[in-house]
Amino acid sequence: MPEADARLVTEILGLLRQPVFFRDVLLAARDQPYRAILHAWSEIRSHHALARDELGRYWLEKQ
């Protein structure tokens, strides 16, 4: 299984310091291949706890 791009993971983690919609993730990484974004998202969901609000926004839960 291909590994996620570490730089892209870091970039998205930075974005998740505040509440964002998934659309915002795609927009921030729009110069990246879609599949690479999903790989990075998979990596983040596997190793980080994400909080959600009722609108559906995500952010990193404080560890």
């Binding site: 919609f21 659309r23 795609l26 291949p33 879609y34 999903l38 998979s42 969901r45 609108l55 559906g56």
Partner: protein, 453 residues
């Protein structure tokens, strides 16, 4: 039997739609997150042949309108409800085959990676990319096989959230497994023929295998094959199948929001997880991205029209035509034309409003073409007196998805109620029919526009 011979498959259905002018091919490269916007702007369903970063084409918008749905089914537009009712009335059991095209390629173990599929991000406020066209298959020791339509949200390369929030047979099967703290084996088929998709969307009574109804719609047994890693039967000619299990995590994993069937962005929910153990597919598979809300609605439209015709029949009313309208998401709003006897306009309104989902009704005489909104409006305008012919019923069963019932004010487990209304737009009793005689252009039958224009 449908065109294409025995067990017409998804791609044969697409070929018919293309011949009928209801499907166009898009050669230009497109990113997956742009496909839904293009589907909404296209005059026909689209097959995106060059999805950036993928070698799997994506098709969407297949059942966006009545004409497209009719083309997919190979039926005439006006007979959707009647043909559906006929199929339901004569179920045919599936036939088990040893090999299926859906297993021409089999990916298992560490090689399973959902990102090989061009799962699109669809709506501005969705929680993640979604598989919107999944038909889930499962077994229960007592109730037997079941199929239903469930959305799946991408989470990781092997896990998806599945919406089991509302009551369903799969939810019941899952709850039974959860009570034993065991996973439930499930297979999700993507890219099945409209017969299987429509049967799976139909709210069949528990214990009735929806694929028997699919056989009834086909007029022949559906071919099914056993999964490679789960003991679950799936349509042998499906484009793609995800095999796996619903984990016994209960309703704990965030899922949603997603653009829902009523045309509004849904809520964030907490749902079970689907862990994928195998991806099987045809050679050169086609990924189907069902577009909300109309495709979802049209999968239910024929069943709604069939239910309306049935309940009018039970009320002793002669039905000329029934139409589940697009604006009412093919379920909430009904227009029916009847051969009326005295009082039956309001009998028809009452009968139709007794159906759980139907919220507004217009009943006309059978001289009105109910597929023409102008004609329906004309009937309402000139055959209806608001103080006599509008029926309002209060305190009836409602749906959470309808914001006008204020579902957020309900307590846990409390069900919403709603008011409903119907318009009796039939010629009022006591007014002779000649008062409604239509104007007819002189010598109409003998004049052909093409001879002059």
């Amino acid at each position: 039997m449908a065109e294409g011979g025995a067990n017409e498959d998804f791609r044969t259905m697409l070929a018919r739609m293309e011949r009928d002018g209801h499907l166009r091919r898009v050669k230009k490269s497109i990113r997956p997150e742009h496909i839904t916007a293009l589907c909404g702007k296209a005059p026909a369903a689209i097959m995106c042949e060059a999805v950036a970063g993928y070698d799997i084409p994506v098709v969407g918008g297949l059942y966006w309108t009545r004409p497209r749905t009719a083309s997919a089914l190979g039926w005439r537009e006006g007979e959707l409800g009647a043909r559906f009712a006929a199929g339901v009335s004569r179920p045919i059991a599936p036939e088990t085959v040893n090999t299926g095209a859906c297993q021409e390629i089999v990916i298992t173990g560490d090689d399973v990676d959902l990102t090989v599929l061009p799962i699109p991000f669809m709506h501005e406020r969705d929680g993640a990319p979604y598989i919107s066209a999944g038909v889930a298959f499962a077994n229960d020791p007592q109730l037997g096989p079941n199929a239903g339509c469930y959305r799946l949200m991408f989470r990781t390369q092997r896990e998806m959230g599945i919406d089991l929030f509302t009551a369903s047979d799969l939810r019941r099967y899952y709850q039974a497994a959860l009570d034993k703290n065991k996973p439930l084996p499930v297979a999700v088929a993507i890219g099945v023929h409209v017969f299987e998709h429509m049967a799976a969307a139909y709210k069949a009574p528990a214990g009735l295998n929806e694929m028997h109804i699919a056989g009834g719609l086909r007029g022949e047994p559906l071919w099914m094959v056993r999964g490679k890693t789960v003991d679950v039967m799936v349509p042998a000619n499906a484009e793609i199948v995800l095999e796996g299990e619903l984990l016994p995590n209960g309703w704990t994993a965030d899922e949603g929001p997603f653009g829902e069937f009523a045309g509004m962005q849904g809520d964030l929910k907490y749902n079970p997880l689907f862990r994928v153990t195998a991806i099987t597919h045809r050679k050169n598979p086609i990924f189907y991205a069902l577009q909300m809300p109309w495709e979802n609605d049209w999968l239910n439209g024929p069943a709604t029209e069939a239910a309306c015709a049935r309940i009018l029949g039970l009320a002793g009313i002669q039905v000329a035509a029934v139409r589940a309208t697009e604006g009412g998401c093919c379920g909430w709003s009904i227009v029916a034309a009847i051969k009326k006897r005295a009082g039956e306009g309001k009998n028809a309104v009452a009968a139709l409003l007794s159906l759980p989902v139907v919220k507004q009704v217009i009943v006309t005489d059978d001289d009105i073409n109910i597929y023409n909104s102008d004609e329906v409006e004309w009937a309402v305008t000139f055959r209806c007196q608001a103080d006599k012919d509008i029926v309002i019923l209060s305190g009836m069963k409602g749906k959470h998805v309808d914001p006008s019932v204020r579902p957020w004010d309900l307590g846990p487990g409390e069900l919403p109620t709603t008011s409903k209304f119907g318009i009796d737009a039939t010629i009022p009793e006591g007014i002779p029919a000649f008062r409604y005689e239509r104007i007819v252009p002189a010598f109409q039958a003998g004049i052909r526009a093409e001879d002059y224009l």
